[in-house]
Symmetry: C2
Amino acid sequence: MMDGVLLQTRNALLAGLPCVDYARLSPHLERVALTRGQTIYECNVNQTYAYFPIDCVVSLLYVLRNGASDEIAMIGNEGMVGLALLMGGNHMPSRAVARGNGYALRIAAGRLRDAFQRAPALQAAVLRYFQAIVIQIAQTAVCNRHHTVGQQLSRWLLMSLDRLSSNELSMTHEQISAMLGVRREGITEAAGKLQRARAIQYSRGHIEVIDRCQLEQLACECYEVISRECTRLLQPAIPASRVGTMEAVRPCRQSGR
Amino acid sequence: MMDGVLLQTRNALLAGLPCVDYARLSPHLERVALTRGQTIYECNVNQTYAYFPIDCVVSLLYVLRNGASDEIAMIGNEGMVGLALLMGGNHMPSRAVARGNGYALRIAAGRLRDAFQRAPALQAAVLRYFQAIVIQIAQTAVCNRHHTVGQQLSRWLLMSLDRLSSNELSMTHEQISAMLGVRREGITEAAGKLQRARAIQYSRGHIEVIDRCQLEQLACECYEVISRECTRLLQPAIPASRVGTMEAVRPCRQSGR
DNA sequence: CCGCTTCCGTTCGCCAGCGCACATATGCCG
DNA sequence: CGGCATATGTGCGCTGGCGAACGGAAGCGG
């Protein structure tokens, strides 16, 4: 429990809270290990805990009747998993899955609801984050409709990178295809192009991004929008005294609109 | 202003509030006319008023750089327009457009924020509604990826019907195509099939649904999910004393999951 | 070192939807 | 009633992505 304090500041949402609010939550936060592929929430099942990822990414996945799936949002240490629990719906028609091994801080639903009511800064931060998620989902919808697999893959890689501390990720083409809701072959082809363009490099479930800027060129405008809105909505909530705890979250891009 | 009370109860979100909270808002609500095609919020511009539709539908539209567009959510008298204003982001990268002539109640941003903080029931209702919107957007994303234009058109018609008091709507194929993010010809073809199947009937910008059940058969599972979650999330907030004011909102379907 | 599983590469036929072009048809307005 | 803008119908070639099938290749465990 001693390392709890250190760990909590690694989640940007928590790190951005004023000390007083943070202190209110702190005793109820519990560090838990998440394992690759672990289902955190099942579809339409009440969410009993909320999770604040520290060093792993969680995907919100829609699964259709015919087995097809589609990632609608990804959550890293910039946010939290379990919004339905604060919104009052208690559950969602989507599944939450950990995309890698790592840790998260979890808190019981009731405790969090309580804090949400009493701590205005927490409420504000969560609501702003929630808006960021909405924008992410909406942009995904648009992207699904209008952009090619190659563009979507680029966007997805960039978004993943923003939520990881390294520029390497462990996912097979098969797994990525389930996220983007396309065929495995489609990913193989698109990834092949990116590799030939020396933007990425991969082998048997390990992908490394070696030219991030090129990836940004190849991605559609969706990435830029999501990225911009995400920083806009998360930044202001973080007091100056706490900056420096979330380097990994900040994307490297610098372009205007 | 005398008819204000009557009108307010025609918006389900307001109708569901306890009298005390409703009374707090009431003096600040102002009836405004919305005209077909009117832009209520422009992209990335601060939202200064929130709107509670009474007898018209508002679309949230994403517009891409190349001019393509895509409806990500539709809002009728079951909800409100202007969530970004309560979420703290103040604006969204999408546009809000009125889809027909009608009325809405509007309230200044500050007043609503104030009430949101002081009236727990309002807060709860809005948050639950917000979750319903999220689900709608997410399902749209999935639908965009996996389903045919015909299925999507059926879903879209059903969703529109649920938000109108009649089973007739004024939209050209061209306009619908902008909503679904497809070609006009695609809509013409899909609508033609629906008409030949005697599910709908249309002519020059007027579409009438004549066999709703068939439409439900032809739509993808997305409609069912959105519809179910929408009623789940809106229903419980409405005290028994107020029921009967929102017949038009309730869809006619009866199937289980 | 061998065999097996998993992952990636590639091909082929197919089709939904695109973009374009143009042919009607219908209501509206003068 | 006649012209005109708008709405709808239809055809054509094209392409991105699908589904299925199969071959090679890299790791892993025995």
